[in-house]
């Protein structure tokens, strides 16, 4: 009795809806995804290892993870700041800014890619200012960071916002009444409460950034060893009909994605545990 799969219920339709869910999930997601692992299984370990550790691939990992990490860190800081400003302050245009936060979710990545390139290219609005100073943004790693910051921007804001809004003002008032300064209150009372959600948001932004393709390929310049991200490398291998190589790198990316998914799940559990 204890091992019963499903609790009895008066509502009808479990068999149909659950059955269809499993069927469709398998058909669209699980079976196709397993194709990557099974295809990779045809490679010998040596083939696999040489492919995924060749210098060009290693350089792409460094770039992808490095740029994604920096972008996630930028979003952690500014996302927190934006969330704070949107939750705590009233100012003209607050509603407007609040609603455009989700723009990177809604805007096709290719559009973001060409728009950012137009701004940061040496002839662009900002690029033309930075070029004389010797700062290269577009077609350099900095450009990649800019594109990834754009795509990851909503994650931290949207995960921190509800937590910040739920935070009871009483705790802060209590701290203030006990003589804490604003900064001490933030550091000792508010920050520990929102830290899990900041980390979750950053992890989500990082996971998204590692796989990002559309917004990066226009601004990055795509030079092997220098500005070639890992997803682009997969595309390049595919274009050269090197399916085995593409599959091997894809397996590495998938494993990392799943690990990130696991970490994010744990972080989210941490967030919900901290709430009453």
């Amino acid at each position: 009795m204890l091992l019963k799969f499903k609790q009895q219920s008066v509502l009808p339709g479990f068999g149909l809806s659950f059955g269809y869910t499993i069927f469709y999930l398998s058909l669209i997601v699980l079976i196709p995804l397993s194709a990557v692992f099974i295809s990779a299984g045809r490679l010998t370990w040596d083939q696999f290892w040489t492919t995924v550790t060749s210098p060009r691939v290693l350089a792409s990992y460094r770039l992808s993870f490095g740029a994604s990490f920096i972008a996630a860190a930028i979003n952690a800081v500014f996302g927190l700041l934006v969330a704070w400003v949107l939750v705590r302050y009233q100012f003209k245009g607050r509603k407007f800014f609040d609603s455009i936060i989700d723009l990177p979710f809604a805007l096709p990545t290719a559009v973001a890619g060409i728009a950012l390139t137009a701004i940061y290219a040496p002839t662009g609005w900002i690029g033309s200012f930075l070029e004389p100073l010797g700062i290269k943004t577009a077609f350099a790693p900095v450009g990649i960071v800019i594109a990834l910051t754009f795509t990851g921007l909503p994650f931290v804001v949207r995960t921190v916002q509800p937590v910040l809004a739920d935070l009871s003002k009483e705790n802060e008032e209590a701290a203030a009444s006990l003589g804490a300064t604003r900064f001490q209150t933030f550091k000792k009372i508010i920050f520990p409460e929102i830290l899990p959600s900041v980390l979750t948001g950053s992890a989500l932004a990082f996971a998204r950034a590692v796989g990002e393709y559309g917004s990066v390929v226009f601004i990055s310049g795509n030079m092997p060893m220098k500005t070639e991200i890992t997803p682009l490398l997969i595309v390049t291998k595919l274009e050269q009909f090197d399916y085995a190589g593409a599959t091997a790198i894809a397996v590495v990316m998938l494993v990392i994605s799943f690990a990130m998914l696991l970490i994010i799940n744990l972080l989210q559990r941490w967030v919900t545990r901290n709430q009453f």
């Binding site: 009795m1 204890l2 009895q8 008066v10």
Partner: protein, 357 residues
Amino acid sequence: MSIEVRNISRMFGTFAALRNVSLKIPSGELVALLGPSGSGKTTLLRIIAGLDFADPGSGPILFHEDDVSNHDVGERQVGFVFQHYSLFRHMNIFENVAFGLNVRPRKSRPDKNDLKERVLKLLKLVQLERVAQLYPSQLSGGQRQRVALIRALAVEPKILLLDEPFGALDAKVRKELRQWLRRLHDEMSITSVFVTHDQEEALEVADRIAVLNAGRIEQEGTPEEVYDNPANPFVCDFLGSVNLFHCRVHNDRLHIGESELTEVSPGHTEHSSVVAYVRPHDIEISRTPHKDAIQSRVVHISTAGPIAKIQLIRLDTNEMVDAEITRQHYKQLQLRSGELVFINLHNPRVFVHDYVI
């Protein structure tokens, strides 16, 4: 229509909500399932309705001798009033009440005018005809409760089941509605079962009460029966406040120390140690010193309300005793806080084992 359940058990994981419960509800009665939270009363009600399922091996559920345990909830044709009303929030009040009639098979569905008439009649019955076009969120709690009731009655069920029907209302509305439920029940010639954790509500409204605790029915009977002759300490305690006295039985009388107190029904073994359960209004307070009384000190007096509540402390054991006397009696006695008095016990319910509250 009478209701009978036999040997119903229900486990939720490792938690036994109901253990082998049997109950018979005569046709036309208004019955209360009374018990603390977790006692299984709501589960029993939901199993009768068909919203929950008895474990395999349980006995049948009979509506007027017919076994309905294999009937779907919709086929049992019961009226069910949910604790939080469960009004359809996207439908107005009229549509809510009409829903049960509207989903009938085409053959038995009343035509438009008939349906409108019936719904309006019900709305009139609960004086809500003016809110027919409003939505549930625009109504007060008491109004929603009444809508939930007539929505259940619109399909003319023979059995009406109510889950904590007044639980979420404030005290005054609660009182009004329970008298109103009683009248409605009498007019409708229907069998009604309601779940409550409020003993006052059960005692006042119901024809019969089933007291549940930890998945079992502890006692079943009329309000007088369960109040005056509780079957066990739990029922005694749950049906009102009560004082406990550890006593000895000697010559069919209760003894505490040297004091020889009130008589008890015969049958208790000599010198057996028992616990006497005495309701506050059965504590007699007197000024006259008496050797067969318990000497106590008045600690606190509260006279706001129809009766005077006296809190005393026994000098022999330092245990607290609550007494209730009429205000008239209180005026005659002119009790003061701190003074010494003598108390005697009336109508003790004597049980051998101590019951842990």
